[in-house]
Amino acid sequence: MEQHTTYTDVTHADTHGGGSKEIRKVTIILSVLTIVELALGIMMIKLQMPDGSFEKDLTKGVIVILMLAKAFYIVAYFMHLGHEIRNFIMTVAVPMGLFIWFIIAFLADGNSFKNLRNEYNPEYKARTTTEQAPKEPVKESEKKAGQQ
């Protein structure tokens, strides 16, 4: 195909960037972000933060922001999207913006579903929020039934 020859233009390294120094820098950044995330996770456990408490939700929010930062670094530097032409970056980044709506809408929907269900189905609410005895392992009850 004729077009094949024009692609050889593109192969002559168009990466302005992506040198060893940059790789090392980004690796360290990703490692630090991961370690901080894990530290926050361990902190949530050790401090026994109660479910639904503000401090626990805040910590989770920080972890999510760190996760997004890691995603940015991987996409921009490891996948070199940051070094491409701006219009190309946009063709990838703009559709991903749909996720913002996607996440907010669906999580809000899930939350609303829970609230409505709790309000209109008290049996469900009682069954799923009251402490219950843990399930017995199946084998034991079968064993007992078998022996009788």
Binding site: D9, V10, G18, I23, I42, I103, K135
Partner: protein
Amino acid sequence: MATTTATATTAPKYWGGGKSPFNVEYGKVMMWYFLMSDAFTFGAFLIAYGTTRFSANGWPNPNLVFKSYPFSGENSNAPLVFVSIMTFILIISSVTMVIAVQAGHAMDRPKVVRNLIWTIIGGLAFLSCQAWEWTHLRLDEHAWWGMNPFNNSNGTVGHQDFTNFFFTITGFHGFHVFSGVIINIVMLIKTLRGDFDKRGHYLMIEKAGLYWHFVDLVWVFVFTCFYLI
């Protein structure tokens, strides 16, 4: 290159035809667009998981579910340890892939080979860890699709979809890692045969690299959603 004449003052004409408008090879553009579709697939799975969890009154505490590692014995209580190891394995394999791609730009075949091998080893190590995790959960804890032995943190009977989502999403991700390892092995064989030297460029390695980084990226999201928050 096309623009070597005295058009230095004007921007390169990318849309005039005969040249890739984004100054990117066709195969690379298509790989990016495939990855976007795959991102929506995983995004849909993870958002479904989030929606279900938000709609539930009770959900198991991951730190009480995922707390062992190989050779730890029966009563281990080490949440986040094993999954941290898996995460670092995947990140380092991504770094070796970046180095392989960079070596490809320099047409440095031995360096490409070395770093591809490290990437493949990293991928296999991750798959082994995930296989251990699945085996442990299935055989020791009796957890599987349709089987959730873990109670919710509020004491109620464990939500059915906890294990369903876990195995489905980590299964899809593991399958992507597996296919990525196969692709990398094929790339390694082609590199060793000199196919890319003959072509004059290592662009295939770069495209395989994009896929591998995507796999790492998805793991960042999966591990955060299931284990951390």
